[in-house]
Subunit: 123 residues, 2 copies
């Protein structure tokens, strides 16, 4: 399943905040940009139909939950992105990102650890 940009915004809110009502999600989205309440509602309904969200409609005000994990979703997005933007070359993507973004010492160290880990797997 490939969430659209608008759907990703909503998933991010739910991943960060846990189960939420449309009202709560809309409040969050409104911090970043103009968006009508029914727009958020409609998106969440569509996502529910697609299986991206689950919901509890036992009370009048429904509560929505992300039905896909952040990890799995990002894995899928990365695969697609590596293909379309880097023609499959993951390492070129990595180098582009590292060259472009300031990462903290801790982050760099963590990446190094991961690299060493990968080295050992290869041996």
């Amino acid at each position: 399943m490939k969430p659209t940009d608008a759907e990703l915004e909503i998933l991010h809110v739910l991943w960060a905040s846990g189960p939420s009502t449309v009202r709560q999600v809309h409040d969050q989205l409104s911090r970043n940009r103009e968006i009508g309440y029914t727009t958020a509602l409609k998106l969440m309904q569509i996502m529910y139909e697609k299986g991206l969200l689950s919901r509890d409609d036992s009370s009048k005000t429904h509560t929505y939950t992300a039905a896909v994990s952040e990890e799995d979703t990002q894995r899928g997005l990365v695969s697609r992105f590596v293909e379309t933007a880097f023609r499959g070359s993951a390492s070129r993507l990595v180098m582009q990102v590292l060259g472009q973004h300031k990462a903290s010492r801790e982050e760099l160290d963590e990446i190094k650890r991961l690299l060493n880990q990968l080295d050992h797997d290869n041996d």
Copy 2:
């Protein structure tokens, strides 16, 4: 400038092959998927209007050239992707990619070199 997926396909052809006619680009695209000749033509005309391509129309058969560099374009795509998919956390993207894709020994070494380089810049 944010190229769409279809536009990226065409840019990749031009980056790899250099200045090309619509016919040549279409032939390349056809290797991967069904696409009509006039579809490719129209896309390239639109990209020309947007400034993504330049063209030489001195002869009947026009020759198109990428007007944006692969580097700059990928930089922009990465920025956008880090924002929408990883809420700005570049290091999480890197780790996701490294964990997910098999990179060759040479690629891993190159990434390590880059990391050491960044370390020194930080000092």
